[in-house]
């Protein structure tokens, strides 16, 4: 394989707290970093012109329509969108048709995605309960052996406390990671946006913050009781952060993620009944958003995800209450997150860490590091370059983005997986 030397770059090493100027030399793995005078004979030399080189992003929460809803997204279209967005590894949610709750389906995803994703690593999360019914746990041991990297009930939180208790406990035998979205289904039932003044004014049913806070406290207690590994999937409220901070201080094996949209937008973005900003969990108050940003800065929230959830226009162009939840995010994860950097809210290495090194640590992946010997899954990014998002030009099969027509900064110039350029093609 022909080595590549990228010179004159700004290196973003998520293990460090500051960026440095330098070069990186890699083939399938990173060969050298720092001050490299010249590459080996025959190496391709790229002048980064000061652009940033960083590990490819690891997006821990992506919905793909394959199998079962290929009109929304396929491995191929998701792979294209990911590569353009600088995402080199993604975890695919199990809420497909059929639900990924059997070894053979894990195997299908790994093989088929491997063939079709254009080089992007697509790793399956398996269902936590059979058919996502929230009643009986799946074959966590066998699914993990087959290659499931974590276990999730998707967007269907488990109401039965004992089911989650047993799953968390059983999973400890395999060290398996249980992702669970804390949302009390009874409190959230019928709600379509954040419960508050705006919902009242719009005449829309609200989802109270307590629906998340109560469930978050329950889940953290269960994690503590069982010793299980819990990923608090897509937190949206300040209420959930307080118990998380305390639990982490006690040594509970809990980590948390946040959807990038919740770091950038708030409930006001749904004003005017904008269904493209209808998310689950809902966009919350500005106070919640600020608290989430601070939690990312402090490392209380470990991971930023895209929450990529493709929905065709016909599912969104409906009265607000009837429209589907969800937004695509593979191509806006990086520029969305970078807005926090540009506003001075979060330093660049800490921000990138939440999309590279932390997910890699949580998933036990070798990727996500800018270090010698790490896989050469890298992205070259012009972090300051502005663009106006035209959602019609998204590579995803669906284009339901609340960032549509917003000006963002951060353009991926080149994406490498294992040293091979997968974007631009």
């Amino acid at each position: 394989m022909r080595p590549i030397l990228i010179t004159n770059a700004t290196l973003v090493d998520p293990a460090k707290n500051k960026v440095e100027r330098g070069a990186v030399l890699f083939a399938d793995k990173i060969l050298a970093i720092g001050d490299i005078a010249s590459g080996p004979d025959g190496a391709e030399v790229v002048d980064a012109e000061g652009a940033h080189i960083m590990p490819g992003l690891i997006d821990m929460r992506v919905v793909i329509g394959e199998p079962g809803a290929e009109h929304k997204e396929t491995f191929k279209s998701a792979g294209r969108a990911a590569a353009a967005g600088g995402v080199t590894t993604l975890v695919m949610m199990p809420n497909t048709t059929p639900v990924i709750d059997d070894q053979s389906l894990v195997d299908f995803v790994l093989r088929r995605a491997g063939d079709r994703s254009g080089g992007v690593h697509i790793l399956p999360a398996a269902a936590l309960t059979k058919n996502l019914d929230g009643a009986l746990m799946t074959e966590i041991g066998l699914l993990a052996e087959a290659g499931a990297v974590m276990f999730s009930n998707g967007d269907r939180p488990i109401a039965d406390t004992r089911v989650l208790l047993r799953a968390l406990k059983y999973a400890t035998a395999f060290g398996a990671l249980i992702a669970h979205r804390p949302e009390d289904p009874y409190l959230a039932e019928g709600g379509v946006m954040h419960h508050g003044e705006l919902a009242a004014r719009l005449g829309l049913a609200g989802i109270p913050s307590a629906a998340e806070g109560i469930m978050a406290r329950r889940d953290l207690e269960l994690a503590e009781l069982t010793g299980g590994r819990l990923l608090m999937d897509m937190l949206s409220t300040a209420e959930a952060l307080r118990p998380l901070v305390r639990a982490k201080a006690r040594g509970v094996k809990a980590v948390a993620s946040v959807n990038v949209h919740h770091l950038v937008l708030n409930e006001n973005d749904v004003d005017g009944y904008r269904t493209f900003a209808k998310l689950s969990p809902p966009l919350r108050s500005e106070g919640d958003r600020v608290a989430l940003v601070e939690a990312v800065r402090e490392g209380v929230i470990d991971v930023i995800v895209s929450g990529h959830d493709p929905r065709p226009a016909e599912d969104k162009r409906l009265p607000f209450a009837e429209a589907a939840f969800g937004a695509v995010g593979l191509e806006t994860l990086l520029p969305g997150a970078l807005s926090l950097y540009h506003k001075g809210d979060v330093a660049l290495p800490a921000l990138i860490r939440a999309m590279t090194m932390r997910p890699a640590e949580i998933l036990n992946l070798p990727q996500g590091r800018l270090a010698k010997g790490a896989p050469a899954d890298l992205i070259l990014v012009d972090v300051g370059a502005p663009f106006k998002l035209d959602s019609d030009k998204l590579r995803s099969k669906s284009n339901n983005s609340p960032f549509d027509e917003k000006t963002l900064q951060g353009i991926v110039k080149r994406t490498f997986v294992g040293g091979r350029t997968i974007f631009p093609v």
Binding site: K130, A135, L136, M137, T138, E139, I140, G141, L142, R162, V163, R166, K169, Y170, T172, A173, T226
Partner: protein, 328 residues
């Protein structure tokens, strides 16, 4: 071995003299009493090969088998043991008793007590039921399994089986694998094997391991391959199929893959390790037929055979203690 206390005697001098009125849990016994019981069982064991298998030590005594749960081997084992010792044996099972008509356990105890039996063997689905009965009757009560609590004669026959095959129990490593949480056999065995100086490994999925099992005097493993290392004996526990619907583990297939004993996993134990199972077995769930039916490693049939001899010794000891008035 330390000097025996005066309360027990060795087999060559006749029946075991017991300090206890009942046998409800292994904790009722000390190691000297256990040794004396197993020694005594040793003298009964050859009877099974004789044409006439009957003694008359319990001639004229009455044993009532009171089984509130279905059991084939334990009930028939006690019945045979009683008959071989010369006792009159009455079997009462729940279907033919007035319990089915709504009588409480204590009413049943009073009724049976009025019949003046000498020995009452009881199995009940509720933990503590044998102890409750023992408080309400005048005769000796033998716990033949109470809920998820204890099954002391099973542990005694398991120890007897191991001792006959391997000579001594002290210093052995014994792995007990499966649904420890719901197993009375495991509780009795851990207590007895600890008393006799064995190292006990408890193996099972976290959902089937009781809270605090690591404080029982056993090492707890959730990885069967780790737990089997160094084991001289592997005791498999029955896993109830209804535990799957209860959500303790996802499927029989997954259970067998991670916690079922097959030839492959058995290779991780000591060379020549022996396999036991209290029965009845779920083949293909907790144990592979190739292991269960391999006469070189499986002691499963031997366990059944040893059960009768051990129970003869237990019945005799308790009948004796009733006769000589040394009740505690």
């Amino acid at each position: 071995m330390a000097q025996r206390p005066s309360g027990t005697k060795k087999n060559d001098s006749g029946p075991v003299r017991f300090r206890h009125k009942h046998l409800l849990a292994i904790g009722d016994l000390d190691r000297f009493e256990v040794a004396a019981l197993l020694d005594r069982a040793e003298t009964f064991e050859p009877l099974l090969e004789q044409k006439v298998k009957k003694l008359n030590a319990l001639h004229g005594r009455t044993l009532i088998n009171l089984f509130f749960e279905n059991s084939t081997r334990t009930q028939s084992s006690f019945e045979l043991a009683g008959k071989r010792m010369g006792a009159d044996v009455v079997n009462m099972s729940v279907k033919s008793s007035s319990v089915a008509k709504g009588e409480t356990l204590i009413d049943t105890a009073a009724t049976l007590n009025a019949m003046r039996p000498d020995l009452l063997v009881v199995r009940h689905g509720a933990s503590g039921a044998a102890e409750l009965l023992a408080r309400k009757v005048d005769c000796a009560v033998i716990n033949a399994g109470d809920g998820q609590h204890e099954h002391p004669t099973q542990a005694l026959l398991d120890a007897f089986t191991i001792r006959r095959r391997l000579g001594a129990i002290e210093g052995l490593t014994i792995a007990i694998c499966g649904d420890v949480q719901h197993s009375r056999v495991a509780r009795s065995n851990v207590a007895l094997l600890n008393m006799l100086g064995a190292r006990v490994h408890l193996i099972g999925p976290p959902t089937l391991m009781p809270a605090g099992a690591e404080h029982w005097g056993a090492r707890v493993f959730h990885d069967m391959r780790e737990g089997l290392k160094g084991a001289d004996v592997v005791m498999m526990l029955r896993v109830q199929r209804e535990r799957m619907d209860g959500g303790y583990f996802p499927s029989a297939r997954e259970y067998f893959w991670f916690y079922g004993l097959d030839e492959d996993k058995l290779k991780l134990a000591k060379p020549g390790a022996l396999v036991m199972h209290p029965g009845p077995m779920n083949r293909g769930v907790e144990i592979d037929s190739n292991v269960a039916d391999n006469p070189n490693v499986s002691l499963i049939e031997t366990q059944v055979r040893m059960g009768v001899a051990v129970r003869m010794a237990v019945l005799e000891a308790l009948a004796e203690s009733g006769a000589n008035g040394e009740r505690v």
